[in-house]
Structures are given as structure tokens and as C-alpha cells.
């Protein structure tokens, strides 16, 4: 049995760890609220943009726009959104698993990484990181999303990559986050979920022409999708961390209870032993 002093030392160390995890939990709760509000604020913009794109696509007949067609390249660009800090449960490893599990050959993939943990995880698996924008995820700006969009779209237009994907964590609610891999380009109309369009009777005019409008709108759409993914990922990260820290705090509590039980037993045992020794001693003298 461990000595009383060892148990005490252990108890102190677990208690201080628990204080840290408790504080981290509180911090991520606050950050989660902020990130959630931010994700909410982006919704009206995104929904309107999405509706417009869908209505343009459904009303245009000739679909030979480069963003809608395969450009023949077999390389794939994957934008991977993870966090810069760990201690968030399975948050980062789930994303890495999602990318690895997509069935792409390692050689054919260009990774555009946002988040240091994703860079580390994917480099170890042998993926090629072509761009690292890890700073952006600390406090994602709309401009960051646009910058990345510009980069990937440029390599798409040059024919370097034929498909663009995005891996991020979808924020369902505070306790459920889901790693997701979605295809951004080429945009396929069949993959867009149908929108119920109340303005079907209205014949929309485009100025400039629908084709040119698509040229401008699709990058905006992707940029916004990316921005939406940033803010959702941020909310997910904090949600995941909150949960991880919550269970760490509970575990620490159990350990402390366990240790104090052991400590008391050890204390009792040592008292009993001392008593036995004294009694045995005094009996030996009186005999």
C-alpha cells in the first residue's frame, strides 16, 4: 500500500489539474456562445446567396460554365479546417479520419490547411500541404475565407485540380458535432437540395448576363460557404472542448474521492498499527 505522503501528493496534483480543466471548460463555454452567435449572424446572408444561385442555375439552360463541369484533372484540393489547440476530445482526429477515409489517393491530394492540428495529423499520414492558413481560425475574418477561395479557384481554373472539397465540423448542437467532407466544385445542380421557390412566377432578368453573373456569384458563394464553415468549426471546437473538459473535471472528482478514501484507510491503518505496537510494548514490560 502506498504511503500516506504519496497519496496526499497525488491528491494535490489531481486537484490542481481539476482546477485547470474547470477553468478551461468555463472559457470554452463563453467562447462557444460567441461563436454560436456569429454563426447565426451569417445565416441570412448565406441563405439568400444560396437561393439566388439555385434560382439562376435552375433558370439557365446552357450549362457549359467552367465551374459546373469537370475540367479533366484528377487532382483534388481539400480545404481542411481544424483547430490550433488540442484538448478538444476527438475534434481534430475526427477531421483527419474523415479526410483519410474519403478514399483519395494520398498523392492526388493538395491540402489547404486551416488549423495547426490538421497540418500535423495529415503530414504524418503523408499528405501534401500546399497552403497553411492556420492563423485564420483563431478569429476567422470574412477576408480570410475569400483569400483561400481565390487561391483554390485559381488552381481550379488553371486545371491543376479538378475537384475541390472542404472538410469541417458541422455544429449540430452543443453536444453533437459532426465531421463532414463536402464537395464545393464542380458544382452539380443535382447535388443542390431543391429550394422551394415562391417567386417562380417572376421572370428574373440578369444584368450582366446570367453567365457573367455566375462568374461573380460562384466565388462569392464558395467564399461564403467557407466562411460559414469557419464559424461553425469554431463553435464545434469550443463545444468539443467544453465536453472534453467537463468529463475531465468529473473524472478528476472521482479520482479525488477515491484517493481520499485510500488516504483515510492508510491513516487508520497506521494508527491501528501504532496502537498495537504500544500495547504490545507495554504488555512486554509488565510481564
Amino acid at each position: 500500500m502506498a504511503s500516506m505522503r504519496d497519496i496526499k501528493r497525488r491528491q494535490v496534483s489531481v486537484t490542481s489539474t481539476q482546477q485547470i480543466t474547470k477553468a478551461m471548460k468555463l472559457v470554452s463555454t463563453v467562447k462557444l456562445q460567441k461563436a454560436k452567435a456569429r454563426a447565426e449572424r451569417n445565416k441570412p446572408y448565406f441563405n439568400t446567396l444560396y437561393k439566388t444561385i439555385c434560382s439562376i442555375l435552375s433558370k439557365t439552360e446552357h450549362m457549359d460554365h467552367p465551374y459546373l463541369q469537370d475540367n479533366g484533372s484528377s487532382r483534388k484540393a481539400v480545404i481542411v479546417i481544424t483547430s490550433n489547440k488540442g484538448l478538444a476530445g476527438g475534434y481534430n482526429s475526427n477531421i483527419v479520419k474523415e479526410v483519410v477515409g474519403a478514399g483519395f489517393s494520398t498523392k492526388d491530394v493538395d491540402i489547404y490547411a486551416v488549423g495547426r492540428k490538421g497540418v500535423e495529423g495529415l503530414t504524418r499520414k503523408g499528405y501534401r500541404i500546399v497552403m497553411d492558413m492556420s492563423e485564420a481560425i483563431n478569429n476567422p475574418l470574412y477576408k480570410d475565407a475569400l483569400d483561400i477561395t481565390k487561391q483554390v479557384l485559381a488552381s481550379y481554373s488553371d486545371g491543376e485540380v479538378g475537384e475541390i472539397y472542404m472538410a469541417y465540423t458541422n455544429f449540430k448542437n452543443t453536444v453533437t458535432q459532426e465531421a463532414k467532407l463536402i464537395k464545393l466544385l464542380p458544382l452539380s445542380i443535382d447535388e443542390l437540395p431543391a429550394v422551394e421557390d415562391e417567386d417562380d412566377r417572376v421572370l428574373m432578368n440578369y444584368e450582366p448576363e446570367a453567365d457573367e453573373a455566375l462568374d461573380i456569384l460562384i466565388p462569392k458563394y464558395i467564399g461564403n460557404l467557407l466562411y460559414g464553415a469557419f464559424v461553425e468549426a469554431l463553435a464545434s471546437e469550443n463545444g468539443a472542448r467544453m465536453q472534453a473538459m467537463d468529463s475531465a473535471t468529473t473524472n478528476a472528482e472521482n479520482m479525488i474521492a477515491d484517493l481520499s478514501l485510500k488516504y483515510n484507510r492508510a491513516r487508520q491503518a497506521s494508527i491501528t498499527q501504532e496502537l498495537t505496537e504500544i500495547i504490545a510494548g507495554s504488555e512486554a514490560i509488565s510481564e
Binding site: V202, M204, E207, P208, I216, L217, K220
Partner: protein, 132 residues
């Protein structure tokens, strides 16, 4: 008789910039300046950097710098999705001035993306005009 109005929504990525009933709105698109009264024909157009003038039913005219985005115009509603839109008091004149100088240098040196530099220059000038 009350003047006819329509709903104007200006939505930015991080906030709803403006949402109210208005009588008239004027802004710049890639095809030129347009003014919109109620019952306008359905039209989707791309925004070019310029000043947007919003006429409220009380006769007040609100101005803002509308720098990038696109608009969807319907008979009773106009939605402008603006990537960058600012009220005059939000504009940082010094920054705009610097951006103007940078853009002018780029244009003079003819380096990089000329269209981008030109857009940046336009934005900087619009911001400064409105802030004054």
C-alpha cells in the same frame, strides 16, 4: 396619400446592415447607376463600388458606402447582399487614403492584377467621398 414603399434589405456577412420600408433607393452596379422605385421589374445585378442613397418614407436620405456584392430586385422587395458596406461614421479615412495611394502605385507600376487594383482604388475613393 402615403407614398408607395418597398422593403429594402441590405445583408452583410456578419450582420443585417439595414432592413426597413423605403420609397426609393439608388446605387451603382457594374452596368451603371440605377434608381429603384416600388414595382420595379425583377432584376439581379452585380454591385460596383459606389454610394447607396436610401430614401425613407419620412423624407430622410441615408447614405452608405456600398463596395461589393450583388442585388436582387423584385417588385415589392430589394435584397442587397453586400460583402462590404459601411455607414459614413464607420469609415476610417486614413486607411482609405493609404489604400488609395497603394492602389495608385500599383496601377502606375502596372504590376499584379490591374482589375483588382482598380477596384481597390474605386473603393478607397468612394469611402473618402462619403466620409467627408
Amino acid at each position: 396619400m402615403a407614398e408607395k414603399t418597398f422593403r429594402l434589405k441590405i445583408i452583410a456577412p456578419e450582420r443585417i446592415f439595414f432592413e426597413d420600408d423605403v420609397t426609393f433607393v439608388e446605387f451603382r452596379t457594374t452596368e451603371g447607376d440605377i434608381g429603384i422605385y416600388p414595382e420595379h421589374i425583377a432584376l439581379t445585378s452585380i454591385v460596383s463600388p459606389g454610394i447607396i442613397k436610401i430614401h425613407t418614407p419620412s423624407g430622410e436620405i441615408k447614405e452608405a458606402a456600398l463596395l461589393d456584392g450583388f442585388s436582387e430586385i423584385l417588385a415589392d422587395q430589394v435584397t442587397i447582399l453586400a460583402e462590404a458596406v459601411e455607414w459614413p461614421e464607420e469609415i476610417d479615412v486614413h486607411r482609405a487614403k493609404e489604400a488609395q495611394i497603394r492602389a495608385e502605385r500599383r496601377i502606375k507600376a502596372e504590376e499584379g492584377d490591374m482589375d483588382r487594383a482598380e477596384l481597390a482604388l474605386k473603393r478607397a475613393i468612394v469611402r473618402q467621398t462619403l466620409a467627408k
